[in-house]
Structures are given as C-alpha cells and as structure tokens.
C-alpha cells in the first residue's frame, strides 16, 4: 500500500444544458405519481404534449413567430422519438456530405453560411441546410442530416430544396469557437468533449427522463461516429481552406 498516494472521486463537470421551459404535469395512478404531459406556456403560445397518448395540441397567436416556435418544439419532440436531435448549428452540404457548424447565438452561424454562399455557391452539390437549427438523426449506425425548416436571419434569402428532402451523411462537425490568434484554425476535439459541446448546443425544452435517455444515447452515437473539430474564424477566402474543412 502506498500511503502517500491520493485519489479523489469528483463531479468534474456541472453544466446547465438548457433553460427549463416546459412544466410537467402528473397524474396519480394506484397512488403512484406518473408523468402524463408537458406544457409550454408563453404569452403567445400554449403548447401541450401528452406522453402517454403521443398527442400534441396548441393555441397560438396568429403570427409567424409564434407558429415557428411551436413547430420547433413539436419537431424536436418528434425527432427525439426517432433517434434525432435539433442542434443550434449552421449546416451545408458539399459533394453530398453534410457539415455542421455548431454554436450558440452570436457564435457566427449566419456569418459562416454567408461565407460559404459567397465562396461556394457554384460548387458541386452545395446546399444550405440552415443558419440556425439543423436536424441530425442516427439510422442504421450512420448519422444523417437534412435541410431544416428553421432558419435565422437568412430565412428570407434561402433557396429551398425542391421535391423530396434528401438526407446526407454527416461527415464532420465543427464547433464555432470564436476568434483566436492561433495559427492553426482547425483543431480536433475528442469524443468526451464532443458529447459536452453537442449537449450544450441542442434545441430542447422538454424535461423528461425518457427523452433524456434517448438524447444522451443519440448524442453519444453522433460523437463516436462523426469526427469533430473546433473552428476559429475568420474563415480563409480560398479553396485550400475548404479542402481542409472537407
């Protein structure tokens, strides 16, 4: 035994993932509390999702922003039930592969899309997936992404895909990491840090253990399958830089 050796059990990360927005309601069955539904209440919205009946209802003010908010919540729930997640991210495709640029508000998602639009709009199979929220899904051990319904400031200047929505294999994830003086603009991120960064950037308002399990499983699968990097803007205006990104 080595008396000088020390070890210590610790919680090394305590991180607030998202603001609790929904209020859970419970029923009592045989004296046991069981969750039945979750409610989201805002000045302009009443949204209710019944976990047991898999049924949603909403009362919404007649304006596009309120409808958009409810659709985001509903879409995120339906996605979670199918091994998918909405991420706060910009997304593009090049050569039929998807690339995500993940980050919170103000991290440069719309700026990234504008940069690609300027430098890449004539590139083979270039499609913009979103400048705000991008869906990602695990299916058959592969990770897919597709064009989002939800956009930020570029929503009125976007050419949407025509016909069926195509799914693209997600090739790389970039975390928008703010301006940095480092000469190396792209640095790899390990699986554990990828899990943390993805969890910090998911769009999620429902507090439910069932969904928390699904989301943690989906995020882990994504982190273990897709290579992830930190990207430090400004982006370089040349094709060599795009080759690095690819």
């Amino acid at each position: 035994m080595n008396g000088s050796k020390t070890i210590s059990a610790k919680i090394v990360v305590n991180l607030k993932l998202y603001e609790k927005s929904c209020k859970d309601k419970y029923l009592f069955e045989n004296g046991q509390k069981s969750k039945e539904y979750t409610e989201f209440i805002r000045e302009d919205i009443y949204f209710k999702y019944n976990f047991v009946k898999n049924f949603a209802e909403a009362k919404i003010n007649k304006n596009v922003y309120s409808i958009d908010s409810v659709l985001r919540i509903l879409y995120s729930i339906l996605l979670a039930k199918n091994s998918g997640i909405l991420f706060h991210a910009a997304g593009i495709t090049i050569d039929n592969y998807g690339y995500l640029f993940v980050g919170p508000t103000g991290s440069g998602k719309s700026t990234t899309i504008k940069w690609f639009r300027k430098n890449f709009k004539n590139y083979k199979s270039y499609i913009e997936l979103s400048d705000e929220l991008v869906p990602v899904k695990v299916k058959g051990g592969k990770i897919y992404t597709w064009q989002s319904l939800f956009w930020g400031e570029l929503k009125n200047k976007t050419v949407f895909q025509q016909g069926d929505i195509s799914m693209f294999t997600l090739k790389k994830i970039y975390f928008l990491s703010g301006f940095n003086e480092k000469t190396q603009l792209v640095t790899p991120v390990g699986i554990k840090e990828t899990v943390e960064l993805l969890l910090k950037n998911l769009f999620w308002v429902v507090n439910s253990q069932m969904f928390a399990n699904d989301i943690l499983k989906t995020v882990t699968n994504i982190a273990m399958t897709v290579p992830a990097f930190k990207l430090y803007p400004p982006l370089h205006n040349d094709y060599n830089f795009v080759e690095i990104l690819k």
Binding site: N2, S8, A9, K10, V12, V13, K20, Q209
Partner: protein, 87 residues
C-alpha cells in the same frame, strides 16, 4: 445506510467516465474515473463501507483518506439530488 442512484436520471459511460443528465433541472454532470467507479456500484446500491472496500481494491490508498473522500463524494451526490438513501 445504503445509497442508490435516483430513478429519474439518464446516464451513459464514455470510456471510463460517466455523463449524467438530470432532466429535472436540465443539468449535465460528468464524473471522473474514480467517481465513475463508485457510480457503477451505486447502480445496484451500496453502503459507504462497501464503496470504500471496492475502491481500495482498485487503488490501494490510505483507508482513512479514502473513507473521507468517499463520504465527501456521497454528500456531493446527495446535495445534487443524484442519489437517495434506502434501507
């Protein structure tokens, strides 16, 4: 006194560390490797003494220091409402 993990948590092991998502307050917690070893035991439920014995087998450190560490860790998990007492 035995302790076990509260039923309303989602957790997953990535290499040797546990990530815990508490959907009640939207918190993510990550445990270091020693904490993760203890979390593994707490899945079935254990006393502080049982935990200390298990960690001692793996790390062979001073029992007194180890007991203090485990007690502090259990207190932290209790304070964060991640485990509960039973029996």
């Amino acid at each position: 006194m035995k302790y076990k993990i509260k039923p309303n948590l989602a957790f997953r092991k990535i290499s040797d560390e546990y990530y815990i998502v508490d959907s009640r307050n939207s918190m993510l917690h990550k445990l270091n490797s020693v904490g993760s070893l203890i979390w593994e035991v707490l899945k079935k439920g254990a006393t502080v003494k049982e935990i200390v014995e298990l960690v001692y087998k793996e790390y062979e450190v001073e029992i007194e220091t180890l007991t203090k560490d485990v007690e502090e860790f259990i207190t932290e998990l209790k304070n964060k409402s991640l485990i509960e007492e039973y029996e």
